[in-house]
Amino acid sequence: MTELLVVLVVGTPVAAGIAAWFTDARLCPRLALAGLGPAVVAGIALAVLVFVSGPQRAFEGLVAVDAFGAYALLLVLVVATIAAAGSPAYLAHEAAAGALRQRDSGHYYALLAWFVAGLAAVPLVDNLGLVWVGIEATTIVSALLVGFRRTAQAIEAAWKYLILGSIGVGFALLGTLLVYASSVGVLGETSDALAWTRLIEVAPRLDPSFVRLAFVFALAGYGTKAGLAPFHTWLPDAHSQAPSPISALLSGAALAVSLYALARFHLVTAGTLGAGFSATLLVVFGLLSLAVALPFLVAQGDLKRLLAYSSIEHVGLATLALGFGGHLALLGFTLHLASHGLAKSTVFLAAGRLVAERGSHRIGRLTGSLARSPANGRALLVAALVLAGLPPSGIFAAELAILFGGVETGWTLAAGLAALLLALAVAGLLFHVVRVTAGPAGSVGEPGVAGLGRGPAPAAIAHALLLAVPLAVVVVAGLWTPSPVKAALEQVVGILGGGGG
């Protein structure tokens, strides 16, 4: 059963991608759906199975899914659904603008499907080496997507992403190697020596000097992929230049998957060295990311870069929460991961439409969005309020939990600093988003492209729903959590080391 579900989750998008690569523009959206649909259904089934009847193993231990893995998998698949649903409109706009070559949309859907397959595979494998292989594979595939538009700026962003990403992930490979070196004496020369389920069991017996070094390299490596300062420099370029549905996947899912890998390393390291060493590093780099993102949120002229810096801020917050530890902060971390993923992927889709209608990323050129394009303007405004951490929303609840959790576990100064930085970031984010949304409609940019945001009625309604549903979920999550969801969150928190609360 588990075997079948795993094959469906990873295999069908890979196969659909291969098919989409070779087909023409009309067929490929259906092919991509044919691949992603079963994967999403199977992923949800797998997650439910894990939450109801405990961790699942398959393929002779190569695959192991616990509650944390299932949670990450669900997040990836939900964000992938949002991104895939936003893709036809994006490609239609590019085609109308004459920017697409003949086979481009086939390649787009193929790469999208492979990107999702890679992201979904990472939380399933029980091997830190294969986690690395999966994350590096997503880097390479998404680098092709970042440069999809072939403009000079997109090529620049993709190149930086490819080179910096490869070096960063190279450090993560060094970290993985060092873990292997620390465990090979305990677990023997098999792939068991990289299995995180086994590593956590034997963590107290691992060689501490290797583990310490391994965590430093893993933090630099997966920190680069997660967009932690000071390794974040590629992120605003890549997230702003990528096609908007891809930005949604990068910000909503890829960052979360990198944090997932980092969290696994943190758990092993804490088991060997005690929580202090890795927790302190996580808190320091989390705070640094909050601080580095702030000036760019305040003095920003580009809407998509604004959202990208907001992602750096939120990754910093999540890292901080991991470092704080304790039941409350980890509950915040768990809630934050999903809320941010949903809100950020939606806001990138809305922003992408606004940018497409206007033909510019510049905030100054985008004013009056509410009047010109009500659905997208409203979504942008609501999502910005949510992302700024205003109540009621899942992010607000998560931020409160993280900050109070930090105080509870003795990180009072760090929590205070974080609260200050978050409050200042609210001002920056909202100032710019209000500039974009308020004001008179003005004239619509390029003539041929005008009105695409509204489109024919059914498509417009579908688009509005696509934006409204995830945002509604995030808002409601701040007010009410159904008890099965609460139980699932508690299971994740238990794995992250905050059990018993």
Partner: protein, 221 residues
């Protein structure tokens, strides 16, 4: 098929020395074509060292991984890079961020630092050579040096490959490499990364008319 451990140890030592020497030569040259073939040569030495270690200690997957690495990084990757070089007008690093004569000083300093740093680390029991770990650390740093000081797209890829060679050498100087399934994944990823870099270098040629990353300066703030 096995190999006398003493011979294997000497082979690995010789390979480690050659790897470090080639690394210094890569820093010293301005010719991009030469650096591509030098890094291919370096990859062959890394693969040979892996094969020797694997055979001497009866670690079959390490030997297999070494042979595959020689084929992939010693032959396929340089052919891919060579094909883009032939289309490009840029053949030399004319104005690197740091002139080779200064970079050379750094490269030699790196070798000393790496030797000193590796001193404290006890290699895993039975690993053939004590020269491999310093060489590995030196190549990781040399790769970073190349990436940070060069401007041309292909030079950056060469730097990445030197960095990768350093990591591969670390892998079997600390342990007997990684499990085969991981090694295969890593090799595959490296190959695809080079192919993607090749695609982007071609697009740069189309859009900017050059593969110099000087033109990549518009995204700020």
């Amino acid at each position: 098929m096995t190999l006398d451990p003493r011979i294997a140890s000497e082979v690995v030592d010789a390979c480690a020395a050659a790897i470090v020497l080639v690394g210094v030569l890569i820093v010293a040259t301005r010719s991009i074509g030469r650096s591509i073939w030098l890094v291919a040569l370096q990859s062959v030495f890394v693969g040979l060292a892996a094969v020797a270690t694997g055979l001497a200690n009866g670690v079959g997957h390490l030997a297999v991984g070494g042979v595959l690495a020689i084929g992939m990084k010693g032959v396929v990757v340089p052919l891919v890079l060579g094909s883009i070089l032939r289309r490009s007008a840029v053949r030399r690093e004319r104005r690197p961020l740091l002139a080779p004569r200064y970079a050379l000083v750094l490269a030699v300093a790196i070798v000393f630092v790496a030797t000193a740093a590796a001193d404290g680390v006890a290699p895993g029991a039975g690993v053939a050579s004590s020269r491999a770990l310093p060489a590995a650390i030196a190549e990781v740093l040399t790769g970073l040096l190349v990436v940070m000081t060069r401007r041309k797209a292909l030079s950056l890829v060469v730097g990445l490959l030197v960095f990768e060679n350093g990591i591969a050498l670390t892998a079997f100087s600390l342990t007997y490499g990684m499990p085969l399934v991981v090694e295969l994944g890593v090799l595959f990823d490296v190959l695809i990364a080079v192919v993607v870099a090749w695609i982007y270098a071609r697009r740069m040629l189309d859009v900017f008319g050059t593969t110099s990353t000087d033109s990549l300066r518009s995204l700020r703030g």
